[in-house]
């Protein structure tokens, strides 16, 4: 057991504070907009906190560290692209501004505004399937981290993760986005502290030059140059640029923050500043992975090397703070993803399929029921599914399943008057077909690029072949 009593006390106090703060959000809920978007009252700073906390989880630390362990400093290209694209979108307002102006609640809702109700449902199904498969592996990876770092027996993994999921579910079901924003703020502070602490300890303990030498001796130039690294290259870089543009605009949990801000200008500022956080979100855990390579050598399990190193180098007390930070990261991501995918199922599949509209209270109840369903799926999937390759590539591809088509249909819908429903269907189909080739042993970069290419071609050809329709986007 790596944990002392002091470490356990720190974690227990943090969990109790989070639960109390989360439950306090319930009294502010009076409509579906409050439940799903916190009444669209997010300011700049709280917007940055919730967006960053939502997209920084233990899963993020694990897959980024795995990339660092396997591909050295070349992996930093992923952090640079994710942060750089977000800074670009924030600086220019490209798509972000317009999306907020439209006053949407979910991503597929745009498809009904621009195209048709049926396409909204199709998009909703694809978004839900891709999102649930994506989130499905979170628990196992997060549980692996927590089990290793605390020294708990592996047999306790399932119960530990079930307990954490139930805790998240409790405050998400009751307080929706309001509870999530409150807890995200606390979680952002904890996870930032944990991230900076671990980074400092890794550099102090392992040493920057030792890490450079380990990468040089194990990987040579490809451990530094993303152009020559076997897992990367220009095709991969191009795929990542497209993917991050799509994630920042069409990924439900990210888009919910765009929709929840006070106004379009606040959305733009939130993206710009969060982009800088995203640079560190990628590069710091990647450095932990490189540190683990220098610490253990190249023959360790790539996913487990980072938590094992952290468990050894952090002293008592600091270890408790860091684990509290990691649990914070886990909870902020999972609760937001629970709400994000649940909102798509309820708003874009169940409600459009009903003939009679639901009242505000019934909509909140429906969202809560779907929350429970999504949690049950994530628990079951996470326990038995075995990943086909590095976690990061799996997450990329399950996301691309709907992101490629959604992105093409978004761009077409916002900027091309000729775009129509046939083009929308072709884009969604092309994106899905391209991305599933990954599961037939096509490298992630080529599967990803083919998904975006097929979606783009589908949008253009389908729109030109289909009947044009006059519309007014307001």
């Amino acid at each position: 057991m790596n944990f002392s009593i002091l470490d356990w006390v720190i974690v227990a106090v943090y969990l109790a504070a989070t639960l109390a703060a989360g439950l306090a959000g319930k009294k502010y809920i009076s409509s579906a907009t409050d439940f799903l978007l916190a009444g669209r009252h997010l300011g700049k700073f709280i917007g940055i906190a919730t967006l960053a906390a939502t997209e920084i989880g233990t899963i993020t630390f694990m897959y980024n560290a795995e990339l660092g362990y396997k591909t050295g400093f070349s992996s930093f290209i992923n952090g640079l692209i994710s942060g750089g694209v977000m800074i670009f979108l924030g600086a220019t307002g490209f798509m972000i501004f317009k999306l907020r102006e439209l006053g949407l609640t979910t991503v597929p809702e745009f498809f009904e505004v621009k195209y048709s109700r049926r396409l909204r449902i199709v998009a909703g199904v694809l978004v839900a399937v891709g999102g649930l498969l994506n989130m499905g592996v979170f628990l196992k990876v997060e549980g692996t981290f927590l089990t290793i770092i605390t020294g708990l027996p592996i047999s306790n993994l399932k119960w530990t993760m079930t307990a954490i999921l139930l805790l998240e579910l409790l405050y998400t079901v009751l307080g929706g986005m309001v509870s999530i924003v409150i807890t995200d703020f606390l979680q952002f502070i904890m996870l930032s502290l944990g991230t900076v602490l671990v980074t400092g300890y890794v550099i102090w303990t392992v040493g920057w030059h030792h890490m450079q030498n380990a990468v040089m001796s194990n990987m040579g130039a490809s451990g530094f140059s993303p152009i020559t690294a076997p897992d990367y290259g220009w095709a991969y870089i191009f795929f990542q640029l497209l993917l991050w543009m799509a994630i920042d605009t069409c990924w439900q949990t990210t888009a919910m923050r765009t929709f929840a801000t006070k106004d379009p200008d606040t959305s733009r500022k939130v993206f710009f500043w969060t982009g800088f956080i995203f640079l560190g979100r990628g590069m710091m855990p990647m450095l932990w992975g490189i540190g683990a390579l220098a610490y253990f050598g190249p023959k360790h399990d790539s996913l487990q090397a980072m938590p094992e190193m952290i468990a050894r180098i952090l002293p008592t007390g600091v270890l408790g703070l860091v684990v509290a930070g990691m649990i914070a990261a886990t909870m902020s991501v999972n609760s937001s993803y629970l709400l994000g995918w649940s909102s798509v199922i309820s708003q874009d599949i169940v409600l459009p399929l009903r003939r009679k509209p639901l009242g505000a209270g019934a909509q909140v109840v429906l969202n809560r029921v779907v929350n429970v369903f999504v949690s049950a799926f994530v628990l079951v999937w996470g326990l038995w599914y075995t990943l086909p390759g590095p976690v990061y590539f799996y997450l990329n591809i399950t996301g691309t399943l709907f992101l490629a088509g959604a992105f093409a249909a978004f761009i077409g819908g916002l900027f091309w008057r000729r775009a129509n429903t046939v083009g929308g269907y072709c884009a969604m189909l092309g994106g899905a077909v391209g991305s599933v080739t990954y599961f037939f042993h096509i490298p992630a970069a080529y599967a990803g690029i083919s998904a975006f290419a097929l979606a783009g071609v589908g949008m253009v050809v389908g729109s030109l072949a289909g009947a044009s329709r006059k519309y007014r986007l307001e």
């Binding site: 040579g220 130039a221 530094f224 956080i277 560190g280 590069m283």
Partner: protein
């Protein structure tokens, strides 16, 4: 140490310096923005809750 006296060595040296610089910017920005958000986010959070309370009206 990374040496720059061969083609591979030069590439490694360039990328090593490039990533070191990137890491310093990324880590520094992360810590600074996190600190500012932690301090000024409290007022934002209060404003959000006040707006939600105002919308609910008297119960």
């Amino acid at each position: 140490m990374i040496h720059g006296d061969t083609v591979d060595g030069f590439a490694m040296s360039f990328w090593a310096d490039f990533w070191t610089l990137n890491f310093i910017v990324a880590g520094g920005a992360f810590a600074l923005i996190a600190l500012v958000v932690a301090v000024r986010g409290v007022a934002d959070l209060r404003a959000m809750l006040a707006a939600l309370r105002d919308e609910q009206g008297p119960r």
